[in-house]
Structure formats: structure tokens, C-alpha cells
Symmetry: C2
Subunit: 247 residues, 2 copies
Amino acid sequence: MPNVTQLMAGHSPLPLYVQIRDSLRRQILDGHFEVHARLPSENDMMNTFGVSRITIRQALRDLHNEGLVFSAQGKGTFVSKPKAVQNVQRLEGFGEAMAAQGYEASARVLSIQQMKAPKAVAAALDLQPGDETVEVKRVRYLNRSPVCIENSYFPMDVGRQMFSLDLSGDIFPMLENLFDIPLGGADISLDAILADNETQQYLNLKAGEAILRVERLTHNRDGRPIDFEYLCYRGDSFKYQFRIDRK
Amino acid sequence: MPNVTQLMAGHSPLPLYVQIRDSLRRQILDGHFEVHARLPSENDMMNTFGVSRITIRQALRDLHNEGLVFSAQGKGTFVSKPKAVQNVQRLEGFGEAMAAQGYEASARVLSIQQMKAPKAVAAALDLQPGDETVEVKRVRYLNRSPVCIENSYFPMDVGRQMFSLDLSGDIFPMLENLFDIPLGGADISLDAILADNETQQYLNLKAGEAILRVERLTHNRDGRPIDFEYLCYRGDSFKYQFRIDRK
DNA sequence: CACTCCCCCTTGTTATGACAAGTTATGGCG
DNA sequence: CGCCATAACTTGTCATAACAAGGGGGAGTG
């Protein structure tokens, strides 16, 4: 008797809480709710969607992590003030993230080569000193302006397959769909440096400009490091945004 | 009959899943588990701790968000490789975060004054143009070296009380304990800029060095913005680290 | 010996039910 | 009229139960 309601007609490959989460997210982003407006109570939503409370709460938890809503015990769940960049909590490649915001993103491959892993790369990818890796250098464009230099390093079993592929798009979907490597999480580290000569040249910078440098180590779902990258963004044309919580 | 087990003797003010989460975290950080070792299964933990599965999962979900563990369906839950900076998913002030890693952190107040809110500050704090704010400027030291300039802006009802207080420590605990303002989440944005004259001077920098600039807008638990800050870190002596997930 | 299929163990999802804790509105009492 | 107790809601925590989905190992078969 329960759960007669199916949000999608026919087959339903996605978990209910994902469907509900996405449905609520769309409504919020479409402006269906005012900023700081109270969402229907969890009890209401149980009836609306025809699911149990635990499922509603799982959907709300995700939206909360995304920074779209916040809750207050005894009062309700409310819509957050909209942010310029939403949902950076999720691991996304440059192109995926920008496309989601309506930008036109592209990439140009500078070089791809097999080489001995530099020390920091070997440590990150769990390789022995002297082991080989595949290095891919690319420039990232936003609306046809260069904004980022990307140096990626892959272990040989992954990188070997890259020489024969078109690398002008996103690499994450390629890893997942073509290589069948389900991605898990990534460790990210940010600092600021001055542009070196090569970076200056490719990003059309004057001498001595500030660069936002991101180190990103992406793991597959089993925790094995798959992709170690240095991303050097123009400091004046890119911001990294996200949201964290107390407690 | 259920739940006879109490982890702490006597009263138990903390939720069970918090106690379990903290207990597991301590064991992991103490090296009780090897890196990549499998944790006891959720079923085992149910017996060990004498709680239901939902409680175990709630604890594991938090540890997963902290980047301490990762799970693989059908296989188990595993310990992540340890990171230099752990737990940046949680909203912490500079001093709190550094103290947790064994650094000696301190602050020196440069100025505190009431002033008209600059445009960006007013927008962030939800103030009308022309409204007054309290600005606090401080230098942050790590092991007695200056690493960060901090400009904080508070709405008047909060900032008014700051003139009579010692601001050489952390402000977050002060807001929570002295002002009784429970903190919720924060929106963070990072970019890279060049040091201006004032920053150069206070951080002992040469001309034209790179600065990692953090904008942080902290809300109370009801979603009202309480504290808007610009944090300018020396690019060469500080890194921002965190972890995000796919899906 | 090798290969396949099946069972068991693991995490993932979901339902139902219950009580605690915090907020708000209502209504009665002084 | 004002104050306070209380009822009605809301989110937070937790128990019990069940099935789905994915992985691994062992047994059986070729």
C-alpha cells in the first residue's frame, strides 16, 4: 500500500530521495519559493510525495549540504539566499561546472607525454619513485578567453589509453563512461602563487600577476588515486566558492 | 529493552551518533586502523555499540564528509589516506583550526571602528545602503610569524558589543558563548590577488607577492548573516584544503 | 585445472513508529 | 490587559524491519 506514487512514469532507476531532492532543487532554483521562505514541513512532503520521513530527510540533507536550504529545529526548513556559484560541494570538472552555469567552456591540448613521475606526483598517486606517468597539459577557455592551465597526471594503466582519444572535452565523464572508472571523492588544496613564464604566456598575463593554484587529487570509488592535477587559474577572473557548516 | 548500552557513564547529553562518530574518529587518528584498512561492518558496530544501524550510518556519514573514511557497496567502509589538514569541512576560525593541528596561533588588533558599510559588505550582511557596521582589522600570527590580514564586518547589534572586549583571541567562540549566537554555516569564496601596500607591510612581504584572498560570510543558525570577512593569506605559507565528493 | 554459478556478506535505500527538543500560537488566569 | 501555562506544530534522534544491489569466495561442473 505504500509508495504507490511514482514521480517518474514507468521505470524508476533513480532512488526516491534523489528524485525528490532534484525536484525540490529545481523548484528552488526556478524561484518557486521566495528567499528565506519556509518549505513545506517534512510531514507535508511525506504526503505530497507519498514517501516516508527518512526519505524526505535524506533529500533535504543533500540540499542542505549544497547550501540551498537550512533548517531550524522547531521552526522549519528555509530557502537560502541564492549564490553565484552553487553546488561546488560536488566533484565536477571545469567544463561540467561551467556548463551548469551557462558558460561556454572549451579546452585545447598543449601536450601529452609519458614521463617519470615528479616526486610530488608519485607521492599523490601512490607510485614508486621512478615509475612512469602520463602527463596531459591543457588550456581551459571560458567564452573563448583563456582562464586556466591544467596539468594532469595519470597512472600508466589509465593514462596509456589517453593517447588515442580526443582530450578537448571533459576528462571526468570520459573516465566514468569510456574507461568505466566510477569516481569517488577528491582532495583539494588551494594557494596563491605568481605566474611563471609559461603560464603568463598562455593566459595572456602581464608579468607578475597572481595565480590561484588548485591541487586536486581525484580517487575512484575504491579510494585509489586516479588523477592528480595542478590547476592554475587567473586570479582576476575566477573564484572558488563553496559552503561549510558549523557542528 | 533496547539501547541499554551507554557509551558515557551517567548522563549522556550528546546524541549517540555523535559519541560513536567521535569515538571512531579518535581511533582512526590514533592509528588504531591501518590506512585503507576495512572498518568493522555496520552490523558489527551495531553489536559493539549496542545501537541500531541508522545510528551507525549517521556517524559514518559524518566521517565520510570529513574525508576520514570512504565506502564501497558490497565491500565495506575503509580508512582514507591521512591528510595534512583534516576536517576543513567544518566551519572553524583560524585559531580553532590551527590549535587543532598543534600550531600556536595569535592575533593582534589593528583597529576597531564604526563606519558606513561598503557596498559589498552591505549586500553580504543584508543591510541598507548607508547603514553602519563595525569593522575589526586584525593580523593573524602562526608561530609568531604574520600570515594573514583579517578584515571583519559585523551588523551594529552584534558589533556594538565588541568595543569592550578582548579581540586577540578567536571570534567564533565569542559569538557563540558570550553573545549567545549559535552559528550555522558559512559561504566561502577564494581568489588570488597581489598584495597591496598595507598588506605587504603587515605580512612582511616584498612588493608584488601573491595573496590568497578568502571571502567568508558566516550565518547564525537561523540563516541571518552575522560576520563578513576578507582574509588575506600569504600565498607561500598557507593552504586551504578540503574534500568533495562525486554524486 | 579452469570456469561458472550461487550463496553470503557488505553497503544502499526505504517504511513505520516513537519520543525528545525547540518554536509558536492559543487561551485562561490574575 | 498582560503574563504564563499549555497545546500544536516543527525538526532532531533512534529503534526495528525489509529488500535491493554489488562484491567475493567457495562449491560444483566441464
